[in-house]
């Protein structure tokens, strides 16, 4: 399976340009879509998930025109939106069973089997009779992934799935995603760099509606190897001075003091030490470059 996105553009009625000539090719693997809030990730995901039409461009899934043949796409689609709610007073097993019917699993034996398996997989078996509306954020999110895996999806789209999850929840969730068998295209959109680093073979960074980088995480890291430097600064004054003089990629608080990461071909000066390059550096650097461009 391969998803080919070419030349997608979208401008909303309020003038916001959400997508600018976006082209991506996504193969049979886990694809990470990284970008800050408002970068156009969700617009892109919704477009691929048949919920929205672009102004121009095309999307095709192994030759299937996603924009024109929505019904056919929906039959092989698993979609977890960024935010979703549930019907009140319906239990998770009833809801999954309903969604299984909607996804064409009409054989009741088969349906029960798959729903039960998913409930076990997502660790919702114990609470399967509880009303969905009373679920915590993490439980709800697991229901979300369960429903996205229902049926035999060939294209799975998960939009910001780890937002709002606690670390344990997040780990479980990423495990589950990674267990999805091959021959399935999975697009994961997130603004958390860790998610991509841990899960994805391929990735793209998108900001302001445009694709900044499309590569594999390791290739991206290769590009900045040996060019990251860090220094603990004493105060705001110094930080200001550094920002004015060099390309500061990020600052972190370490034990209450600022640690500054700077991108430079050679050591930028006293007190700086060479630092292991991280995917996060790639991310911030490309955003910064984009902003300056």
């Amino acid at each position: 399976m391969a998803l080919t996105i070419s030349g997608l553009s979208k401008t909303y009625a309020n003038g916001v340009q959400a997508l600018r000539n976006v082209s991506l090719t996504i193969g049979n693997n886990m694809f990470g879509l990284l970008g800050p809030n408002g970068a156009g990730k969700s617009t892109l995901m919704r477009t691929v998930a048949t919920l929205q039409d672009p102004d121009s461009g095309s999307v095709s899934l192994d030759g299937l025109d996603v924009l024109a043949k929505k019904t056919e796409v929906r039959r092989i689609l698993g979609y977890l939106p960024q935010e979703f709610g549930v019907y009140p007073r319906i239990s998770v097993s009833d809801m999954l069973s309903h969604l299984a019917v909607m996804k064409g699993i009409t054989n009741s034996g088969e349906r029960k089997e798959v729903v039960d398996a998913l409930l076990h997989q997502t660790n919702l078996w114990e609470v399967r009779k509880k009303s969905l509306a009373t679920y915590s954020g993490g439980m709800k999110q697991r229901f979300g992934i369960a429903q996205a895996l229902l049926g035999k999806p060939k294209l799975i789209i998960v939009d910001e799935p780890t937002a709002g999850l606690d670390p344990a929840e997040r780990n479980r969730f990423l495990n589950l995603l990674s267990s999805i068998a091959g021959n399935v295209t999975v697009i994961l959109s997130t603004h958390i760099v860790e998610d991509v680093r841990e899960l994805c073979q391929r990735m793209a960074i998108i900001a302001n509606g445009a694709v900044l980088i499309e590569s594999s995480p390791s290739e991206a890291l290769e590009g900045i190897r040996g060019k990251m430097w860090s220094k603990v600064v004493s105060g705001d004054e110094e930080l200001k001075a550094l920002e004015a003089g060099m390309q500061v990629v990020s600052t972190h608080l370490v034990g209450g003091q600022h640690e500054v990461r700077v991108y430079a071909d050679t050591s930028p000066g006293d007190g700086f030490r060479a630092s292991e390059s991280e995917l996060e550096d790639v991310y911030f650097l490309s955003l910064a470059r984009h902003a300056n461009a």
Binding site: G85, I90, L99, E110, N123, V127, K152, L176, A181
Partner: protein
């Protein structure tokens, strides 16, 4: 204080930023504007044509109406104000700050109060500006002092906002649950409807306590103003005085202000100002949830990924069906697992049952709860819920995915929009189906509770599921469409409710056409005789028409369904255009069905039949009066004999035939022109047996003038022949002729030619006359008028006639007309009957009846031989037949003894469908509507036997109308109606005794006093009565009954006998019309039997409008030495004379009035002492000794005299 101000101002700011605040204001503004600016809007405008539209009564009534519908608005403002912090979870921020309870609650409450008052204040400028509308009826608009606007606003509306708002605020503050807040307004509204309905729908006479505790006002305004005359309604406000109307208004307002203060106190006491207490419930839920999660984490420490089983998704018709079923099931569950749904169902069931408990009962009358009455009672209230549920759940279903944010998942599912939409519709249909079933079950239950076990399930099914469900469905489809198109659910609700509310308003404004009033069907009446009868076709076609249009909107809704992220209407319209070809075939089918049924409906109602609006019909009446009134006093010959051959075709609702009149010139001059009125378009081909020609005719042939080539000489007779008949074609848009029915045809001589101008066609309502620029209607001339005196009151075109007829009908029915059956035969597949009146002359007043009847016969031995008593009725309606026969016998016995022998050898009662609700006395033949007899039920001694009464009344007319008729002058009407009423009252009293009459007469008095309050022209004294039925029935009956009580029944009967024998059959044999009797002779006959000291009663009762205000002030008892009781009673009495508009002047008083001491329960009081005493104006004290312990005492305790405060005549006795 600063905090307080902050909360207060914040509340104001929030409200004034919200569009709803302005919408509410606009609603009240428009409401009161229309109340004043339009006579077609609101109960005051469309009611009595003399009550000022901006007068004190109108403004008070409008204020109460706004208060009633305003319950929901008050709940919406107050309830959400206190809930806001809990809804938006700002409690955490708020209650951790040091704010005072007073500032928080007080600021919020006062803010809501001020906003609500401002919102409702829209009423006042609305009323004021309404007076300036150029199209308004300015004869009904006064230059009003400001107090007329502000006193009702403050004392009714503001007080209600205070206590109801406080209540809603309290409930919101203590429950902190959104659905309770949303529901409490509707719940109070429904409960009030229930409360008021119990008293208003049964026209209960007990008003004091229900009025005191009436939070809205529909009861107390009725209690206070029910007997107000026009003058009072146009000058008096609801008074704050404790003396006016027993202080009802003052006490009511005090009770409810007190209630408001109590709720505020409760709020202060019970509202906890700590975050912990406020969020107790939700924090316990959070704790539970946390515990669950802990368990879960502990139980599965690691995450083992298992392979998902292999599945084989398939898509096709089977899957679509499965998707449809699964979605439908889910949506239904969404609805029925929701608490508000059950609240609605339970409220509906409660209201239906309480309405059903009193099905058909009115004014103390008990009836069998037959299915049509039960359905009417149950459906009458439940229909509101059917529509509420349709409106509400259509919106919920359309918006469910958006409201729950499930749309992201739902919209990406592989199901078609049609499948999705159909599942919504199906869920809604299922819910309606169930709700209708509940309503039906309530009806059946209430029939069983009342001991009526004849359950007509098929009729329940037809009414609920064949007639009503499609109409609800039409509305549901509209709601689904509107909710699909609009961008906001509440805007959608507004539009849908607007469409619903606009229907009757537009209808009132003359937009009557079923084809353009959304979802409208023509009115129909179920009749046990006739089923849905001729209403089936118009119902079927109008429902088909609107269902097709609704389905068209439904298909459009599918095309416009929201799916995906871009759900602006514009985007969806583009989608619709792209996918138009998919829905086009379905749209075309719906459109064709709508056009087809619409054309067929139009063809029937506009082409086959003339389409006339109510205004068109009034225009025709007005034109008739304008064009032909000038001929009213043209000398015309009178009919002296009538015969006709009539063929009735019940299955076609038609009849045809030929008629023949003998006309005689009973005037001293020759007559050369014959004028004929054809009001019903019932006859054609008029010919005379001498040369003649048509001089002129008018549109619809309503008035034709024929010139005789040789004038008809005085005393000379001639023959007039004509064809008579009416052919029903197709169906009409309402206004079907009630006379023609598949079973129960009943039409009268109104279809035959009327010689000369017919005054009865004139518009009576002064409001309508003004609209037509007609000026006041000409009254009956005074007694002694030269023309009026020699004209028969009932049948101005004749004096007395000979009558014979042959009538035929289909063989499965029998045909009747007045007269004795001479022969009947079957020919050409039809059944013929010949009736002849023999030598007895009758009024020119006869009828033809055809139906499928069971006949119950009996015989009474009259003074001149046997009298056949026959009741023609539906086999199922045999409940009252023995009662009717008993009443006929009792009446015959009484009237023959008291008045004169019965002039006929038969008395027949014939049932006809309830399209019309009266009984009418033709010579020896009485058509009797199935709605007012036949299902009466007299079981308890307190039940009023109305059938007995009506039967005796109609029999009374065989004397008082068919033997003695007055001239066409003022007062004459009472000589037939009042005397028939008196005859029936006496017959009733002989059968049921005086205490049952007491109950009956209190209702009669109520009707008289209400009648004069609603008078649109002016009230006349009894002996001068013009066209005031409440005078000639209710006042007349009461006056005569009391006269019999005062001077003795024998004396009254003797007076009537003397009067009858002297004046009956006036002009029966004269070649020239002489004078008919009038009330001067009647009153003289009564005076002759009345002692001198009671002559004042005749003056007061017949020649004037006199009202008493008798009152028991106090009653105390002291035991006497010989174990008896001494009662000391203080009474106060006043008497006033009223003019026709209700202006009163005090009268001196020296009147004989009952003083009584009573024992026993209210409904079955027994007198221990009852004596007439001479009473003067003011206070008087009486003492009397009684043997038993009394419980009440009073003046005129049985309400024999006309008294507007009839319930203060008695007082409970107190021990000294």
């Amino acid at each position: 204080m600063r905090q307080f101000l902050e909360f207060f101002l914040f509340e104001l700011k929030v409200r004034f930023k919200s569009i709803s605040t302005y919408v509410y204001f606009a609603i009240w503004f428009v409401f009161s504007f229309l109340c004043v600016a339009s006579e077609s809007f609101g109960p005051v405008g469309s009611g009595n044509g003399k009550v000022l539209l901006n007068g004190p009564f109108a403004n008070s009534y409008n204020a109460i109406g706004a208060s009633f519908f305003g319950i929901i608005v008050i709940a919406a403002i107050f309830g959400t104000s206190i809930l806001r912090d809990f809804q938006r979870d700002t409690t955490q921020i708020l209650f951790t700050k040091p704010i005072s309870k007073f500032a928080y609650l007080g600021g919020r409450w006062l803010g809501s109060f001020v906003v609500t008052v401002i919102v409702f204040f829209g009423l006042v400028p609305g009323e004021m500006l309404g007076t300036l509308a150029p199209w308004a009826d300015h004869t009904r608009i006064a230059h009003a002092p400001l107090v007329w606007y502000f006193q009702p606003f403050f004392s009714i509306v503001v007080v209600q906002i205070f206590f109801l708002g406080s209540l809603f605020f309290l409930v919101g503050a203590l429950s902190r649950r959104i659905f309770i807040v949303y529901l409490q307004g509707a719940a109070v509204f429904a409960l009030y409807l229930f409360y008021a309905g119990v008293f208003l729908s049964t026209r209960s006479l007990s008003r004091f306590w229900p009025s005191i505790f009436d939070p809205v006002g529909l009861l107390y305004i009725d209690g206070i103003t029910r007997y107000w005359t026009v003058v009072e309604k146009n000058t008096l406000l609801l008074s704050w005085s404790h003396q006016a109307a027993q202080g009802l208004f003052l006490y009511n307002r005090l009770v409810w202000c007190g209630f408001g203060v109590l709720t505020l106190a409760a709020l202060w006491m019970f509202f906890p100002m700590s975050l912990e207490a406020l969020t107790a419930r939700s924090s316990s839920r959070r704790a539970r949830l946390a515990a669950e999660q802990d368990d879960e984490i502990r139980s599965v420490p690691t995450f083992v990924t298992t392979r998902a089983p292999l599945v084989h998704p398939i898509f096709g018709a089977g899957t679509t069906w499965a998707q449809y079923r699964s979605m439908t099931r889910l949506r239904m569950r969404n609805i029925v697992r929701d608490l508000p749904f059950w609240v609605l169902i339970i409220l509906m069931a409660l209201l239906s049952c309480s309405n059903g408990r009193y099905a058909g009962r009115i004014e103390g009358q008990n009836v069998w709860p037959v299915t049509y009455l039960m359905l009417q009672a149950v459906e009458g209230i439940a229909i509101l819920f059917f529509y509420i549920i349709a409106t509400f759940y259509a919106a919920e279903l359309i918006w469910r995915e958006r409201d729950t944010h499930f749309e992201g998942i739902h919209d990406a599912l592989p199901a078609g929009e049609t499948t999705d939409w159909m599942s919504k519709l199906t869920a809604l249909c299922f819910v309606e189906f169930a709700v209708l079933a509940v309503a039906g079950l309530c009806g059946i239950l209430m029939q069983a509770v009342q001991g009526y076990y004849h359950f007509e399930l098929l009729q329940y099914f037809k009414e609920l599921y064949v007639v009503t469900l499609p109409q609800v469905l039409i509305f549901a489809l509209l709601a689904m469409f509107v909710q699909t198109v609009v961008s906001n659910k509440f805007l959608g609700h507004g539009i849908v409710i607007g469409v619903f509310v606009m229907q009757p308003i537009l209808f009132n404004f003359g937009w009557e056409n079923t084809l353009y009033l959304f979802g409208q069907t023509p009115p129909y009446t179920y009749s046990d005789m006739n089923g849905y009868g001729h209403f089936v076709l118009p119902l079927f076609w109008s429902i088909t028409y609107w269902l097709a249009i609704a389905a068209f909107l439904g298909v459009l809704s599918i095309g416009l369904a929201r799916r995906g992220a871009e759900d602006s209407l514009g985007a969806r319209m583009r989608g619709l255009r792209q996918n138009f070809s998919r829905i086009a075939p379905a749209l075309a089918v719906c459109l064709l069905a709508a056009i087809g049924s619409g054309i067929w409906y139009y063809y029937n109602t506009h082409v086959l039949n003339e389409y006339l609006t109510a205004k068109d019909r009034r225009d025709i009446q007005a034109a008739y009066e304008r064009d032909f009134k000038k001929y009213e006093h043209f000398a015309q010959p009178k009919i002296t004999a009538a015969d006709a051959r009539i063929d009735i075709y019940p299955d076609r609702r038609s009849f045809s035939g030929t008629g023949h009149f003998v006309l005689q010139n009973k005037t001293p001059q020759p007559i050369s022109a014959i004028h004929v009125t054809n009001a019903q378009q019932g006859f054609t081909h008029v010919v005379f047996d001498r040369p003649f020609h048509v001089v002129s005719s008018s549109p619809r042939a309503i008035y034709t003038i024929y010139a005789l080539d040789k004038p008809l000489a005085p005393g000379e007779t001639m023959n007039m022949n004509f064809n008579v008949g009416y052919t029903s074609r197709g169906f009409k848009d309402g206004n079907e002729r009630a006379e023609l029915a598949y079973n129960g045809t009943f039409f009268d001589s109104g279809y035959f030619p009327t010689i000369g101008y017919d005054q009865s066609l004139e518009l009576g309502d002064p409001r309508r006359r003004r609209e037509e620029h007609l000026g006041p209607q000409e009254l009956l001339p005074p007694r002694g008028d030269a023309v009026g005196s020699v004209t028969n009151l009932f049948t101005p075109t004749a004096d007395w006639i000979h009558y014979t007829t042959t009538v035929s009908t289909s063989t499965d029915q029998m045909a009747l007309a007045p007269g004795y059956l001479q022969k009947d035969w079957i020919a050409n597949g039809r059944h013929y009957y010949t009736y002849d009146m023999g030598d007895v002359k009758i009024l020119d007043f006869f009828a033809y009846i055809s139906g499928n009847y069971q006949v119950t016969r009996d015989t009474y031995q009259g003074v001149n031989g046997p009298i056949a008593i026959e009741v023609y009725h539906l086999p199922e309606h045999s409940f009252d037949v023995p009662d009717m026969i008993a009443a006929s016998k009792a009446g015959l016995a009484f009237y023959e003894k008291a008045y004169s022998p019965y002039q006929f050898r038969q008395y027949r009662i014939i049932e006809f469908p309830r399209y019309r609700t009266f009984a009418q006395s033709f010579p020896n033949t009485v058509p009797f509507s199935e709605a007012i007899g036949f299902i009466d039920r007299t079981e308890k001694p307190t039940d009023i036997d109305f059938t007995y009464f009506v039967t005796a009344h109609e029999l009374g007319h065989q004397w008082w109308a068919h033997q003695l008729i007055g001239g066409r002058v003022a007062g004459s009407n009472m000589m037939s109606e009042t005397l028939a009423e008196y005859s029936a009252l006496m017959t009733q009293q002989h059968r049921y005794g005086a205490s049952n009459m007491h109950r009956f007469l209190r209702f009669e008095l109520d009707r008289y006093l209400r009648g004069r309050g609603a008078e649109v022209r002016r009230e006349e004294p009894l002996a001068q009565v013009q066209n005031e039925p409440y005078v000639w029935y209710q006042k007349g009956g009461q006056v005569m009954y009391t006269l019999a009580d005062y001077i003795g029944e024998d004396k009254v009967n003797l007076a009537l006998h003397n009067f009858l024998m002297q004046y009956r059959y006036a002009n029966a044999d004269d070649a020239q019309s002489g004078p008919y009797p009038d009330t001067r002779e009647l009153v003289a006959a009564l005076r002759a039997q009345t002692p001198a000291d009671l002559q004042y009663y005749i003056d007061d009762s017949f020649e004037n409008i006199v009202l008493y205000d008798n009152k028991a002030v106090s009653a105390t008892i002291t035991p006497t030495a010989d174990h008896k009781y001494k009662v000391t009673l203080v009474v106060e009495a006043h008497k006033v004379k009223a003019d026709g508009s209700g202006n009163e002047t005090p009268m001196p008083m020296h009147d004989l009035i009952d003083i009584g001491v009573l024992t026993g329960p209210q409904d079955a009081q027994k007198p221990l002492y009852l004596q007439k005493e001479w009473i003067h104006d003011g206070r008087q004290t009486f003492t009397m000794i009684v043997d038993q312990m009394p419980n009440r005492a009073g003046i005129d305790p049985y309400n024999k005299l006309i008294d507007r405060n009839e319930d203060d005549n008695q007082i409970a006795v107190a021990k000294e």
